[in-house]
Symmetry: C2
Subunit: 302 residues, 2 copies
């Protein structure tokens, strides 16, 4: 039952033209599960070090995220340091300290194994498959990846994709994975690798979703104040997969709504550093921004 996510919990240090934060709560699994927690019960699998403070644990618990799969081990928590220019679309990584994440070997607690929906955040594709072998029979497997794995573990990634229903990556990764500059052709190739549904994340330009016989474009919300795009992709994924796990409807209509819900959550997330803005949203705010998205792209037939 429920939604399972496997990924990272981290400390981020981020510099943007609008400010700087040090060692704030971050990580793909953190952003994903916080965002998804507005829609469904989340079971998290990740690893932290002995330096991980109780206040973060309490926050995740406050969001009703199940932490039975959060391993705590000796050593320091994963740390990432990055910087953004005025073009907030791409982070420049200044430093990555894998620490306890280096030897992360996800172990699913027994009661996690019958998860109906699984999200494999951006980790080693070997580990992504290892997680799947520990699950019983999920109805939907969604996954993320990154250029690092495309370059260094391509064969393993392609093997993982055979078991993935929904892949979420950005446009440059889609081009790199398929060696195809045209995004529509790249999407068709990726569909043929396994994922029936592909979401191509394009930062401030929104998301394009490719299904076997339909393309959907979800705009990004035009914000006057974008503070920090860190975690936007995982927050999107959390809203998207979380909404699907709530409804368990995977029709084209439901997938489109879910893509907007992901965009809604991502639009909140970038308005502040770390998870500050999505710590404690009112569901009414989420519904209200969903309706704003409707206004944003609506036009009448001729």
């Amino acid at each position: 039952m429920g939604l399972l996510v496997v990924g990272s919990v981290a400390f981020d240090s981020v510099e943007t033209p609008f400010g700087t934060v040090e060692d704030v709560l971050g990580g793909s699994a953190t952003y994903f599960s916080t965002s998804a927690s507005y829609f469904t019960d989340v079971n998290l699998v990740a690893v932290v070090g002995e330096d991980f403070p109780e206040k973060h644990i309490n926050f995740l618990k406050m969001r009703r995220i199940n932490l039975d799969g959060l391993e705590r081990t000796g050593g320091r928590t994963f740390r990432w340091q990055g910087k953004y220019g005025y073009d907030l679309n791409e982070a420049q990584t200044l430093k990555t300290e894998l620490n306890v994440f280096e030897h992360f070997s996800p172990k699913l607690p027994e009661h996690y194994r019958d998860a109906e929906v699984v999200f494999l955040a951006n980790i080693d594709p070997d580990l992504q498959r290892d997680v799947l072998t520990q699950t019983k029979n999920p109805k939907i497997v969604a996954a993320d990846t990154m250029n690092f794995w495309i370059e260094s573990k391509r064969d393993s990634l392609i093997e993982t994709l055979k078991h993935v229903d929904i892949l979420l990556i950005n446009d440059s990764e889609a081009r790199q994975l398929t060696d195809e500059p045209n995004l529509v052709k790249a999407a068709r190739k990726i569909n043929s690798y396994g994922p029936k549904t592909l979401l191509i994340k394009q930062g401030e330009y929104g998301v394009t979703m490719f299904n076997s016989h339909s393309i959907f474009i979800a705009p990004a919300y035009p914000l006057e104040n974008v503070f920090d795009p860190t975690g936007a992709g995982d927050t999107f994924a959390g809203g998207f997969v979380g909404y699907l796990a709530n409804t368990m409807d995977f029709s084209d209509i439901a997938l489109r709504r879910a893509a907007i819900m992901g965009s809604v959550m991502a639009s909140f997330n970038v308005e502040d550093f770390s998870l500050n803005k999505i710590r404690d949203l009112d569901y009414k705010e989420i519904e209200s921004r969903f309706r704003e998205f409707k206004k944003l792209s609506h036009f009448e037939d001729i």
Copy 2:
């Protein structure tokens, strides 16, 4: 009566990863008026040299474009040479030969002066204002510009903008014009310069339209074969302004439909070199692609 456009008629030589063409018909006024001719009568003002062949004149006449304002003078026609990489979003200009365009001084034939809708394509902002002084009392003035004028004739451009109702520029130009990296803030600044409506063209990512109390995002059509983006912006403008001139309805609903119509025309244009694809479209093809745009961005409320 009708729609007036002032801009360039040119020969383009273009290299893309998909092929090369030499001295083909191009120019902002050519793309604009061909695209607009599907919706309304167009009166063109431009200049060509003695090397401009009859076959191009005949093509423009075939599209029922009024050429009484097309000046023919001694010398060579304006020539542009450019190159695109796999990222088709930005052209690298290899060569610009202004030729007869260098001393272009637009003169409106008497029967052009009562145009209700005016499009000032990307020319010297001094000339744009000069054109306006020759018109009687247009209901709507739309304009384009480029980084070159923003850098070299900023004050003149700001003066021109006071008389412009609808400005169409790309995102980097909007940022450069306002010295504001955030697009929403940049748009609000530009609205305060004069244009009540601003369309920010974002290439393969579509168009964002800012009105005083509404933002609309029109996606770009995801194409498997993008051959040549030359003229896409002017073709968009032709569909947008042409549709408005046809209906003379400037409500938010009409502006949104017009933005989609511009996107429809641009999506055809990039499928082939020069104006090949938009030379002779069936209006049913245009309507059919308009409906495809509807499918592309439609989602149901929650």
